[in-house]
């Protein structure tokens, strides 16, 4: 059997939860950059969440999520000891890890949790890790100490300036691109942020890898809900990704497809109220 038990739940920032899940087989295979799919209950939707950390020995994975829709709200309502209806993974290709040299790693919002295992592997592989973490305001900055542990330099930005630099992640990004010979940029967070990051790094000709989050259903390559266009070709985000070359991604398409079910989300919200 593939158990999926909630071992720990904690609200680490307003509306942002950390969950520790017992799922030995998934933990045994998890690698940085991969995700899993869950269904909270038998009427639930299948949604992908990134594996933010894993402990192979204990058979556990960690996920960090923000409550945005019905599924994440239900998930946040689970109690320690509850079982998920479905937990399947690890899915997607692991992030390519090698010794690139000077790397800039950018995490926005809850994307920071997804960035963490990648940062750790980048550091272990001998890269210089220049990390930029962005959030709306200081209470939404998460996992700062965990990032610090593997970052040669950590820059914080908040939209309102309540902590770190006032502004967005692209400001310090531009500066480091001006000053240093950057070998690789890795970005994970809201699509809009990854788009802006990619636009800037393109000007500097610096290779940029982004972790995309299209809508998914099965996440095994069976449906094509997760179609993304990269370099003019269609790929399935779930099996060909989630990592892609940020300079080649058709961002307008990704953003439009992510809004596909806006009306239905509204109906679901009203239905719940």
């Amino acid at each position: 059997m593939n158990p999926a038990k909630v071992l720990q739940k904690e609200e680490i920032a307003p509306g942002i939860f950390l969950m520790n899940l017992e799922t030995p087989r998934v933990a045994a295979k998890a690698q940085a950059g991969q995700f899993f799919v869950l269904r909270v209950d038998d009427k639930g939707e299948r949604i992908p969440l990134t594996i933010a950390d894993f402990n192979r020995k204990e058979g556990q994975i960690v996920t960090v999520f923000q409550v945005v829709g019905r599924t994440t709200a239900k998930l946040a309502d689970l109690k320690v000891g509850d079982e998920l209806a479905t937990l399947v993974g690890p899915l997607g290709k692991p992030t390519e890890i090698s010794q690139f040299g000077f790397t800039v790693l950018i995490g926005g919002g809850v994307g920071v949790a997804a960035l963490y295992p990648i940062l750790r592997e980048f550091k272990k592989a001998g890269n210089f890790t220049y990390t930029i973490q962005g959030a709306r305001s200081k209470e939404f900055l998460i996992w700062e100490e965990k990032l610090l542990a593997y970052s040669d330099k950590l820059i914080l930005t908040t939209d309102d300036g309540s902590k770190g630099r006032k502004g967005v992640v692209t400001d310090p990004l531009k500066e480091v691109l001006e000053k240093e010979k950057v070998d690789l940029v890795f970005a994970v967070g809201p699509s809009m942020m990854m788009k802006f990051v990619s636009e800037i790094t393109r000007e500097y000709g610096v290779k940029t890898v982004v972790s995309l989050n299209p809508i998914m259903v099965d996440a095994t390559g069976m449906c094509g809900a997760c179609r993304v266009e990269v370099g003019g070709k269609t790929y399935f985000g779930c099996v060909d990704g989630p990592d892609f070359d940020g300079h080649q991604v058709n961002w307008e398409l990704l953003l439009a497809r992510q809004r596909m079910y806006c009306d239905e989300e509204e109906i679901a919200r009203k239905n719940n109220a």
Binding site: M1, N2, A4, R25, V26, K29, R39, K43, G44, E45, R46, R70, T71, A85, T86, L87, V88, G89, P90, L91, V217, D218, T220, G221, M222, C223, G224, A225, R227, E229, T234, V239, E252, L253, A256, R257, R259, M260, Y261, E264, E265, I267, A268, N271
Partner: protein, 454 residues
């Protein structure tokens, strides 16, 4: 005397619900139909059945009103009769060879199979006793008809069998593809539970190739592995505008509706777009299922767009008739060439007219475009059902597993792959075919696995 008709929901009613279209035979109707069978000594019908059901024998039992005995007779060779009775293309299989077809209509073998299988589900299964308990566990990857058949046959011989399934429900296409109104999910669940009562265990939510590798399975102690992965990856048309919002693969559309129950949204959480003007592209069972599902979700107009003609449609005859009755509009000899949209959503489908030219490698006349015949349709939803291919997820990661030119697993006539101890069958070998052909290959492979392990 023609076939006894089975009662059906009226088209104008059934397009508003997902209940099964056909009510099937009553016991009286079934017995009457069974009376039509000539009980031919040579039983030509049997050559049309890939799993070798003793058709005259079970029909004779129905004639004698031994309905449950008839079900048990079928169960000797087919573990999934309630499913097969509903979805097999009998007109090109058993019923095609029925002696009566020369006079009037063949015996309704499929409906009779369904009748007694449903009765057994209602009354409770007879679980055959498994005498031996063997110590050589077999892993089956995929819980579609191929995998279920292998599992059932081996469990009955005493093998411990574990099915690994990627999705959260067992059944493969039977649960994610074929709609409720043709194959109620509780029927699939009942037949799956029958296999479980034979001792088969099913591990859901396990993607072989991701969660576990084939080598992991051997390391866990499985002595042989059967791959029944299906031909799960959707094919797209590769034309302009295909990724616009509102354009689905049939797999996605049907999975949302069937497996995820989006037709019950918002009671169930998964949404699906409910188009008003829907175009479904393709001419097979999948396309018809998608078209009829779109109608039931409230579409005002559903077009079935097929590049060949009615005569070449690979769909089951009965379902084609049903779709026509329900008001699906067929656009034959028509090929979409691009999609146009506004604000990211599809609005128009540009098509070109086709005509039939020289026969192609399948013997069907190849459709060729008629120059200058472009026209466009206003649509707000498009469902692409032009076929599937092998999903590379697992098979591209198994060193030494030989594939054919089309990317499917290469096997010998007994289902043996190039990798020791690994067998395969169903759509992952043939490309998308039928439930019963997948089951037929499963039967052959089960025997081969038994021989391999003995």
């Amino acid at each position: 005397m023609p076939k006894i008709k089975a009662q059906e929901q009226l088209p104008k009613e059934r397009i508003h619900n997902f209940n099964e279209v056909s009510f099937g035979y009553t016991l009286e109707e079934g017995q009457k139909e069974a009376e039509r069978c000539l009980q031919c000594k040579r039983a030509p019908c049997r050559q049309g059945c890939p799993v070798g059901i003793d058709i005259p024998a079970f029909i004779a039992l129905i004639k004698e009103t031994k309905f449950l005995e008839a079900a048990w007779k079928i169960k000797e060779t087919n573990s999934l009769p309630a499913i097969c009775g509903r979805v097999c293309p009998q007109e090109i299989q058993c019923e095609k060879f029925c002696t009566l077809r020369h006079k009037d209509e063949p015996v309704a073998i499929g409906r009779l199979e369904r009748l007694v299988a449903d009765l057994e589900i209602e009354k409770g299964f007879k679980i055959p006793e498994v005498r031996k308990k063997l110590k050589t566990p077999v892993a089956v990857v995929g819980s579609g008809p191929a995998g279920l058949t292998v599992a059932g046959d081996l469990a009955r011989r005493g093998y411990p069998v574990v099915i690994f399934e990627a999705l959260h429900q067992a059944g493969g296409v039977l649960v994610y593809g074929i709609p409720e109104f043709r194959l109620p999910k509780k029927i699939v669940q009942a037949e799956v539970s029958y296999l479980e009562s034979l001792g088969v265990s099913i591990e859901l939510n396990t993607v072989i190739g991701q969660t576990l590798s084939l080598d992991d399975l051997f390391k866990e102690g499985f002595k042989s592995i059967f791959l029944g992965l299906g031909a799960g990856a959707p094919v797209f048309m590769k034309i302009e505008g295909e990724n616009l919002n509102g354009i689905y693969s049939a797999n996605e559309f049907l999975t949302r509706v069937n497996l995820m129950r989006a037709y019950l949204f918002p009671e169930y959480d998964t949404p699906v777009k409910r188009g008003k003007r829907v175009a479904v592209i393709g001419g097979g069972n999948v396309a018809l299922d998608a078209a009829r599902t779109a109608l039931r979700l409230g579409a005002e107009k559903v077009y079935l767009v097929y590049r060949r003609t009615e005569a070449e449609m690979p769909a089951r005859q009965e379902e084609y008739e049903h779709a026509k009755e329900e008001g699906v509009e067929m656009l034959f000899l028509t090929l979409p060439v691009k999609f146009e949209g506004k604000d990211g959503w599809v609005e128009k489908m540009v098509c070109i007219k086709m005509e039939l030219g020289e026969p192609d490698e399948t013997g069907r006349r190849r459709p060729v475009p008629v120059p200058g015949s472009e026209f466009s349709l206003d649509v707000d939803q498009v469902i692409i059902a032009i076929g599937t291919r092998a999903n590379p997820l697992l098979i591209s990661r198994v060193p030494g597993l030989r594939l054919n030119e089309r990317g499917y697993i290469k096997v010998n006539e007994r289902g043996r792959t190039s990798k020791k101890g690994v067998f395969a069958g169903g759509d992952i070998v043939t490309g998308s075919a039928t439930v019963i052909s997948a089951m037929g290959m499963g039967k052959v492979a089960a025997q081969a696995i038994h021989d391999y392990l003995s």
